[in-house]
Amino acid sequence: MKIPMKYIIRNFRTRRLTTMITVFGIALVVFVFAAVLMMAYGIQRTLVATGSPDNVLVARKAANGEISSIILRNDYNTVLTLPHIAKDPNSQPLVSGETVVIINIYKKAGGLSNVTVRGVAPQAFTIRPQVKIVEGRQFTTGAREVIVGASVAKNFVNTAVGEKITFGGDTWTIVGRFDAGSGFNSEIWGDNDQLQAAFRRQGGYSTVTFKLDQSDAFSSFKAAFDREPRLQQFEPKKEQRFFEEQSEDMALFIRILGIFITIIFSFGATIGAMITMYAAVANRTVEVGTMRALGFRRRSILTAFLTESLTISLIGGLIGLVFASFLQFFSISTLNFSSFSELEFSFALSPSIIIWSLFFTLMMGFLGGFLPAVRASRLNIVNALRSA
C-alpha cells in the first residue's frame, strides 16, 4: 500500500525551518550550477551568432586570433582566384579583406580595456546583413569616420554617436551605432583603407572573409584552397566555426572551474539534505513504527522518505532555476582570452542546461535521502514503537 503524498507534504510544515534551509541550500547550488553553464553558453552563443553560415574566413594557420594573423596582399589576391566566391550583380567578388587591431579605451566602469577595431571593405555589409545601423549613419568610404557596436557605446566612455576618438595618430568621428546581435557589437568598424593607413598596415590584411556562391560549396572551396601551393600557411574556416573557436578557451575555463566548484559544493548540499532526512527519520521513529504496525510495507516507507527528499530537492532546484533564468536579463562584458579584447554577452539558458540542472538536483535529493530512507524502512516495529 502506498503512503499518501499528503503525509509527506505535511511533514514539511512540521519542520518548517529545517526544510526551508535545505531547500534554500539546494536552490543556491543549482543557481550557481545553472549560472555557470549559462555564462559559458552565453559566450558561445554570442560568438557563434557572430559568423554567418554562408561566409568563409581565411586566417593564418598558426594564428590564435584575428589580431595575430597576417595575410599579405599577394596572398589575398591568390585567394580571390579561387572558385566559389559569390559575386554581386556587377560581378564584383563579395569579399572583405579586414584589418583587425586592438585599441585601449576607458570603460565606464573604470579602467582601460581593449576594444577590437575592424577595418572593413564596403562589401562587409552585404556579406553580413545582420549588422544594422540603429543610430546615426554608415561611415563614408575614404573619410576618418567609424561606427561603434552597441555594446561598445554602452560600456565605454565617449563612444556615443557624434563624439570623437583619437587613435592611430588621428581623430575619428563616430557617425553611427550598429547592432548585430553578436560579438560584432563589441567592436568598432571603419573603412579598411583609412584604418590601414592610420595603423601603417598597408602591406596586408589580418583576415579575409567572403560569401560562398552556394551554401554547400565549402568543401569544394577548401579542396581548391588546399591544392594552392601559395596558400599553405593559411586556413579557410566557416566564419561561424572560426568565431565559435574564439569562444572555446573562455567557455572551457568557466565550465571546468564552475563544474568543479558546483560538484564540490553539491556534496555540501547533499550532506545538508542527508542531515535533514536523518533528523526527519529520527524524529518520526514512533510514527514509522505505527505505520509499520498498521501494515505499511518496508518498501512504502522507503518510497515515502525518498519521495520526501526528492520533493525537497526538486523544490530547491526549481527555485534555483527560476532565479537563474532571471540572469538572462543581465549581460556582462569581459576580456575574451582568444581575441584579447572586450566581449559583451548575456547569460543564456538552453534546454540542456535545464535538464542538467534538474538531473543534478534529483541526484542530490536521491543521494541525500537514500541512506536515511533505508534506515527508516529497516526500523524494527517493536523497538520503534517503544522509542518514545
Binding site: 534551509i21 598558426a62 590564435n64 564552475g258 555540501g268 550532506i271 545538508g272 542531515i275
Partner: protein, 386 residues
C-alpha cells in the same frame, strides 16, 4: 573545564550528524580555498611586479610595436639603470594547445632587468653568443621535456614562417611567484629575417622594460619618457610593471567578480549546513535546556554550551577543509598546463580568509539556536516534545 567536556559530549551525541556536518563543511571550505586560489593567482602577477621596473608601450594599445630607435633616447633620461625590451612572438609549438609565452628579447640585458630569472653564467654566455639559441623556463622545460641542445620548432603567425631555436639554457624561478614558463630568444634573429622577408617590419619591438634606480622616481621618469614621444605618431605610455599587469587583469574584472561572488555563496552554503545542524540539536534539547535552567544555570552557560559546540564543529570542519585544500590545489597545478597559469599555490591570505570565515560561520550559526534556548520559558521547555 566541565563545560568543555559537556560541549564535546554534546557534539558527539549524534555522531553521524556531527560527522556529516564536519565533512560537508570541510568540503565547502576546500572549495572556497580552491576558488580563492584561482582568483588570487590572477592578482599574483600584480603582487610579484618589481617596483623598480617600468614598462613603456605604444599608447594606442600593446599590440602596436615601437621603433627600436627609442632605446637610446630612453636610456638618456636621468635615473634609468638599464633599458631592455621584449617582443611578443606568438606562434604555435606543435599545436595551439601547447601554449606558453615566446618572446624575442635582447640577450645582453634581459637577465639584468629580470634578476628573478636565475640562469647559469655559462649557459647565459652561450646564449649570448649563438644567435639561433634560446632559453626556456624551468616549468615548461619540465612539462615538454626540453633539454639543453634540443631544437624547438615554432610556426610563426605574427612573424610568419617556420622558426627553429636551440635550447642553450634553462632558467629557474627565484620565488614561487616568478614566471618560469617563458621561452626567450634573440630579437636580432627575428629582425634579420623580417628585414629580408617583410621589409618595413624590421626594427620594431613590442615594449621596453626600463629598470630605474629609485622606485620613488617612477612617476617622474614615466612622464619624462612619454614626453619624448608625445607628438610622434608612435606615442608611448609608460607605467610601472604593477600598473601594466593590473591593466591586463582589469579586463577580466567582471569574471573575477563573478568568482568572488560564487566564493561567498559557498560561505553561505557552509552556513546553511552548520546552521541546520545546530538548529536541530537545539530543538531536540529544549527540554534539557529547561532542566539546566531549573538547576540554576544562567543564560551565559547556555550561550557557552551552544556557541562552544558550534565553534568546535566549525573548527574541525575548517581544519579538515584546509588540510584537504593542499592536495587539491597541488593536483590542479599538476593538471593545468603551466603556460596558462605560470604558478598555482595557496597564499597566506587564502588560509586566513578560509579560517576566519569558517569560525565566523560557527559564531553566526549558533545565534538562532541560542535565541531559542534563552527565549523559551522553563515551563514551555519542560513541556516540549521533540
Amino acid at each position: 573545564m566541565r563545560i568543555l567536556k559537556l560541549i564535546l559530549k554534546n557534539s558527539l551525541r549524534h555522531k553521524l550528524r556531527t560527522f556529516l556536518t564536519i565533512l560537508g563543511m570541510s568540503i565547502a571550505v576546500m572549495a572556497f580555498g580552491v576558488l580563492r586560489t584561482v582568483v588570487e593567482m590572477w592578482y599574483e602577477g600584480v603582487e610579484a611586479a618589481a617596483p623598480n621596473r617600468l614598462i613603456t608601450r605604444h599608447a594606442v594599445s600593446f599590440i602596436f610595436p615601437l621603433p627600436y630607435s627609442y632605446r637610446e633616447q630612453i636610456a638618456k633620461v636621468p635615473g634609468i639603470e638599464t633599458v631592455s625590451f621584449a617582443n611578443w612572438f606568438g606562434g604555435t609549438y606543435i599545436d595551439k594547445n601547447k601554449f606558453f609565452a615566446r618572446m624575442a628579447v635582447d640577450p645582453e640585458t634581459i637577465f639584468d632587468v629580470y634578476p628573478e630569472f636565475i640562469i647559469d653564467a655559462k649557459e647565459l654566455e652561450t646564449f649570448k653568443r649563438e644567435r639561433n639559441s634560446c632559453i626556456v623556463g624551468y616549468e615548461i622545460a619540465k612539462q615538454y621535456g626540453f633539454k639543453i641542445g634540443d631544437i624547438i620548432p615554432l610556426d610563426g603567425d605574427i612573424y610568419p614562417g617556420k622558426w627553429e631555436f636551440v635550447v642553450r639554457g634553462i632558467y629557474k624561478p627565484r620565488t614561487q611567484s616568478t614566471d618560469a614558463t617563458q621561452m626567450l630568444f634573440h630579437f636580432s634573429a627575428v629582425d634579420e629575417r623580417m628585414k629580408v622577408e617583410m621589409p618595413g617590419r624590421e626594427g620594431l619591438i613590442g615594449w621596453y622594460i626600463v629598470k630605474i634606480k629609485d622606485p620613488n622616481q617612477a612617476g617622474t621618469i614615466s612622464d619624462q619618457i612619454d614626453a619624448l614621444y608625445k607628438n610622434s605618431s608612435n606615442a608611448t605610455k609608460t607605467e610601472t610593471e604593477r600598473a601594466f599587469t593590473q591593466s591586463f587583469i582589469s579586463g577580466l574584472n567582471s569574471l573575477l567578480a563573478a568568482m568572488n561572488f560564487v566564493s561567498f555563496v559557498i560561505i553561505g552554503i557552509i552556513m546553511l549546513v552548520l546552521g541546520n545542524t545546530m538548529i536541530m540539536s537545539a530543538r531536540e534539547r529544549i527540554q534539557e535546556y529547561a532542566v539546566l535552567k531549573t538547576l540554576g544555570f544562567s543564560g551565559g552557560h547556555l550561550i557557552g554550551l551552544i556557541l562552544g559546540e558550534s565553534l568546535v564543529i566549525s573548527a574541525f570542519g575548517a581544519g579538515l577543509g584546509l588540510f584537504l585544500t593542499y592536495p587539491v590545489v597541488a593536483t590542479i597545478a599538476a593538471i593545468v598546463p603551466k603556460g596558462f597559469f605560470p604558478y598555482f599555490f595557496i597564499t597566506p591570505t587564502t588560509l586566513i580568509l578560509s579560517a576566519t570565515s569558517a569560525l565566523s560561520i560557527g559564531l553566526l550559526a549558533s545565534i538562532f539556536p541560542i535565541q531559542r534556548a534563552i527565549g523559551t520559558k522553563i515551563v514551555d521547555g519542560l513541556r516540549h516534545i521533540g
